[in-house]
Symmetry: C2
Subunit: 419 residues, 2 copies
């Protein structure tokens, strides 16, 4: 049955999450399908950041470390993140970058594995994992005399048998939108004597995550995608409480010390999550993340993650169906799994020719997705602010880009770095 614009409008009208898009600044004429790269600006953030600058820093000066609560921002923001990833209070800190946090937790995991399973010397990951994860693992393996082994998704479980110390995976793949079964793979890792480290960059705030139910060991994630924390805002780290007391890593800065202001020359790690910290955190970017989380919390009275997930799947299902309906003969291959249980909150299309240029042509038409080398058009669907008519419009513009052939124009074929 053909889907019409009116169908999409009717679904928007019936959408219980519809009002939440008013919480974001969305430039007129823009359909924003890149929240999986950088979430848009929540309306509340400008005033919150201005307060941090003008009142807390400007008037409070150094006193704001205490009076404005700057000190425990990493823990307070961490507690806000916890509910979206199935973690407990006091288990998460917001700090540093995903790459640096991955270094911390992978380092700690390798130290634990060296004690508990000294024969296990392999870090196992997926070949198409996000590169920074692989780079960090490569460098750390070189330091520790371990081996990084990269396999295809279907090879992960069989490969676990082979002396794996740590299974390190990104829950939702950045390029394909495919989602791993965290509980099953963690179980398989544990059965093979390995620890499981999860990167939640494309999961936190996007799909249901339950680290405790999965019995995961370590996790890291990103604040500026589905948590809408702003460009380059702090990332986060989680350690299962059963390992918290053993967590040890060489980024042993003063903020991870049991008593940083005693200024003792010997490092003594803090008893709680503070030991995952290293140096002083960027307060302005941290309060923006706090505000992003507050905005996400506005979904709680409307069903929270269950409602967000239902709408996310409805949006991605609709996009897939409309691409097939309107651009079925245009040479796109669906990269993202059709099975909703295996899909994140994005849809990726591969096309042998012109993928980069088509993304640029769409951007010129106000539909912002992104290109991922070598041949992927990637579209993120964030149910907080994307509606069904937006999906219609995105596919309509894609249809136009193809019908006009405008993507062949030189202006859309000049390569430029994008994040």
């Amino acid at each position: 049955m053909t889907i019409t614009l009116q169908d999409c409008q009717a679904r928007d009208a019936a959408d219980p999450l519809r009002a939440l898009r008013e919480l974001f600044v969305l430039p007129p004429g823009t359909t924003y399908l890149d929240g999986n790269s950088l979430g848009p600006l929540p309306r509340a953030t400008a005033a919150r950041v201005a307060r941090a600058v003008e009142e807390e820093w400007g008037r409070g000066l150094i006193r704001s470390w205490n009076d404005a609560g700057w000190f425990d921002l990493p823990q307070r923001v961490g507690n806000r993140i916890a509910r979206w990833i199935g973690a407990g209070d006091g288990e998460v800190v917001a700090t540093d970058t995903t790459s640096v946090n991955l270094y911390k937790v992978l380092s700690a995991a390798l130290s634990m594995a060296a004690e508990d399973a000294p024969g296990h010397r392999v870090v196992l990951s997926e070949r198409s994992n996000f590169p920074t994860d692989l780079y960090i693992a490569q460098a750390l393996c070189a330091e520790r005399g371990c081996t990084l082994r990269l396999v295809e998704p279907h090879e992960i479980e069989p490969a676990l048998a082979d002396g794996v110390a740590v299974l390190m995976l990104t829950h939702v793949n950045y390029r394909t939108g495919a989602m791993h079964d965290m509980a099953a793979l963690t179980r398989a890792a544990h059965a093979a004597g390995a620890l499981a480290v999860w990167d939640l960059a494309h999961s936190a705030g996007a799909v249901p995550v339950d680290l405790h139910a999965a019995q995961a060991d370590f996790a890291v994630g990103c604040g500026y995608k589905y948590l809408n924390g702003g460009p380059g805002c702090p990332a986060f780290a989680w350690v299962h409480p059963r390992h918290a007391g053993r967590f040890w890593q060489p980024l042993a800065g003063w903020w991870g010390h049991a008593a940083p202001f005693e200024f003792t020359p010997e490092y003594r790690p803090a008893p709680g999550v503070a030991r995952y910290l290293c140096g002083t955190q960027p307060v302005l970017s941290m309060v923006a993340l706090d505000c992003g989380l507050e905005t996400l919390e506005a979904s709680l009275p409307h069903g929270g993650m269950a409602a967000l997930r239902a709408k996310s799947l409805a949006l991605t299902d609709l996009f897939i169906a409309l691409v097939e309906q309107r651009c079925g003969d245009a040479g796109f291959a669906l990269v993202t799994p059709r099975d909703p249980a295996r899909r994140g909150s994005q849809v990726c299309l591969a096309r042998a020719e012109g993928a980069y240029a088509m993304v640029q042509a769409l951007i010129a038409r106000g539909v912002i997705g992104d290109f991922r080398a070598p041949d992927i058009l990637r579209f993120g669907f964030t149910p907080l602010y994307v509606g069904y008519e937006d999906v219609w419009n995105a596919v309509e513009q894609l249809h136009q880009v193809l019908a006009t052939g405008e993507w062949r124009s030189p202006e859309f074929n000049r390569q430029q770095a994008v994040t």
Copy 2:
């Protein structure tokens, strides 16, 4: 000869840097002597950060990585820092925290030393170095099978003979304000076959620094003290160009890759300074740092660092003289060197009893300095915005705190964390 308030006012009237204080937001009734911990808010920063939030993030969205120049902020801000530390264009990046950057450069230095001087297995530092430096070095030494040896300042040169791989020092001591002779100690380190790593946290923007003249090997420093970049803004890292191609460290995140957006699974370090980067940087805190540096640059037409240094020494000389004149019998010991060549931009007084409480009583009177355990009252004098009458007022209030005995009040004796 007795110094009078009128003398101080006359010096303010004749001060060629006087107008620069108008570039800062200084709350009325506050004498701010804690810019060595957190620099105050430059007037231009609020609007600059608001533009980054509302226009660049809000309207530009993901496109601002290119269009607003977010991508090369670490290098552009690094280039602004370079002139204050005697580094060249394209040699410095603003990124991460001082602790994380120290980990990077110390790690790289140890790897180089392991190749060039394999028998050298000691990291030599000062016992009273800032603790985070010592913690990072401890943890890294444990990983690499090296030894961290801590000595008193006068023992540094003799200790270099003993298989030292890296001499790691903070140029200006956070507790005493004592400044090392960077050129002489670097020369001595090199003569002993060691590399020299300098922490410029209390130097950059505060005292003349010439890394090239000193032939230093590596340096790190802080953005939120004398560079006025705001709470927790990014720190910086510098590597001498002779080592740049050999710089290798395990925080090998995607931003340090030669082509981060090719998303190749193999790490290939960038040819230039980008290899000192790891993950995505906090843009809001980074633009605040950019603004802090722009504000510091306003001193250039008035003589730049030479003029700042001359005034800094005049302010600290005046403070020392006034404390002796007005509180000479109050039991304070001058911790900071009297010799201007050995003094940073701060003055520290030790007092066996009541140091913490006196700092609190001063804060209640609007004179903000800080306490450093166990017995130090620390006062930073930043010539950009501190004047001679401010020094008079600070000592007058200290005199009152002593004369009234108000520091004995319980309200000033409740310990609370301060940074």
